[in-house]
């Protein structure tokens, strides 16, 4: 029997604004990425010292998941399925620059896009399925299909899936929590509608 899945909640971080399925929760005119990330960290009263050593992509991932997971109880087998276009290129450039003097191991660790999945897993103690996909643009079809395959096969009871892109200081984050719990119907169209709303 085909089981139905739903978008239990979502969060979007873009252009200084943070919103979720209920409302806008944060708005800042700060243009500098590092200052913006710090202001969100302070707003959330996060108190997670490890945050400060992370690269921008991981910080965005931690902030987004924190907002989602605070509002929703999650199980340890919640899968993490993320995608983006720029991979870890923002940090890759910084690491490449460091090689002109002393190559930085602290930067090198973050030159893989899936490191954010590790950081989120550590913060929320998730021992679960992970995958990071790269795509030219928001890949609703793949995210929907892969999420569905994990849920229907029973590999995961819930899935956090979404888009987490950072390039040239511009960030575009859209994360969804997918579960059997009834809320917004889970489909390629609904993912696209939510992602593209106010995103054009």
């Amino acid at each position: 029997m085909q089981q139905d899945f739903y978008i239990k909640d979502w969060v979007k971080i873009k252009d200084g604004k943070i919103s979720n399925s209920k409302s806008e929760i944060f708005n800042s005119s700060e243009k500098n990425l590092d200052f913006f990330l710090k202001s969100v960290y302070d707003f959330l009263e996060l108190k997670y010292p490890k945050f400060h050593k992370m690269d921008g992509l991981s910080k965005l991932g931690i902030l987004g998941t924190e907002i989602l997971f605070r509002k929703n109880s999650i199980s340890t087998d919640t899968a993490l399925i993320l995608s983006n276009n720029a991979s870890s290129l923002e940090t890759d450039r910084q690491f490449q620059e460091s090689t002109k003097t002393f190559a930085s191991p602290a930067l090198f660790v973050y030159t893989l896009p899936n490191i954010v999945l590790g950081e989120v897993s550590i913060k929320f103690k998730l021992q679960s399925e992970n995958a990071f996909f790269i795509a030219e643009s928001f890949n609703a079809e793949l995210l929907k299909n892969y999420t569905e395959s994990l849920l229907t096969s029973g590999k995961s009871s819930e899935v956090l899936c979404g888009w987490l892109n950072l390039q040239n200081g511009e960030y575009d984050v859209f994360l969804c929590l997918i579960s059997p719990e009834i809320n917004i119907s889970f489909s390629e169209e609904s993912l696209k509608n939510l992602y593209f709303a106010e995103n054009d």
């Binding site: 190559a103 660790v109 899936n114 999945l117 399925e129 795509a135 892969y146 569905e148």
Partner: protein
Amino acid sequence: MKKLYLLDDAIISPLGFSIEENISAIREGKSGLQLQQKPEITENSFYAGIIDESPLNDAFKAIRNPKKYTKLEKMMLLAVQQILNKNPNLNLAETALVITTTKGNINLLKDPGNFLEIRLKLSELGKVIANFFGFILKPIIVSNACISGGLGLAVTRRLGSIGKLKNALVVGGDLVSDFVVSGFNSFQALSQEACKPFSRDRNGISLGEAAAAMLVSIDKPESSGNIALIGDSTVNDANHISGPSRTGEGLYQSIQKALKEASISTTEINFLSAHGTATIYNDEMESMAFHRSGLQNTPLHSLKGYFGHTLGASALIESIVTKHSMLKNHLYSSKNFGELGVSKSLNIIQQNGEKQINYALKTASGFGGCNLALVFKKE
């Protein structure tokens, strides 16, 4: 979950540009690793498996102008071309293209040469390969550290199981770029000798570059003697982003879940293709996970002494070699193994041998705490 059948495959590596050359080099104990000097990056010499560009260009000339493609693209395109040559009737309009890599064309960051900046992007790498052959479906690009190549097979099986694809070409590749050499060197993770997985005197990894491709299908081939992926799982350690879990928890759980899905017990696994990077902590972690899984008597090897660590290609290449091991019932020795140097006993293959292999397990682990287990069956 449906089974995923492993059909034709190709490996482009320093050991050769055909599957036959690569498998026979392993049988003969040849290594692709050579001493490298890169004084502009590191004063220490190191071993790595690097493909000579001149024979690569010669091989590539047969299909297209080598100047228009990066080294990695040439390697990956050649691998795919070999499979398409063997399968002229494959319908590319309904064949998925799954690309697995950690860093793609990252070498262009330092020296773009004649290539546009966009060529750095992994999405562009996907486009180049898709357009070269005329794949219609959007490429699926997996970049999940050193489990990428194997995860590409698992992703294909999962999407195939819910009816989203039938056939796929899974392609993996990574380079020994100055970027990764600098990075692993900054980590002090590069061995100054050829790497020695699971050995007492192991002291770090040797990097390698390679491309591999594998044609896979959800539909069972008509011919007999097939290898199928029947169980797969990834579990994150949730412990540390660059160091493996001391207890091997994520890998242990991955193995348990993959075996459960395959509905077999540990004792039925005839052969284990380990990750075995030859860093102190990785190999120790694997020994813990294997021991906890009851795999201490199962013959195992690491192929890193032959190819080096080929990053996003490694788990795909090792799955391909596993497939050929299973079909021929051959056990290949774990190159450069000396005396066991992990705290739990393991059955490391020290000499080539013969064994009926009905079930095999392939594992991989990587930065970000990721782990993967794949169960293959001969039928």
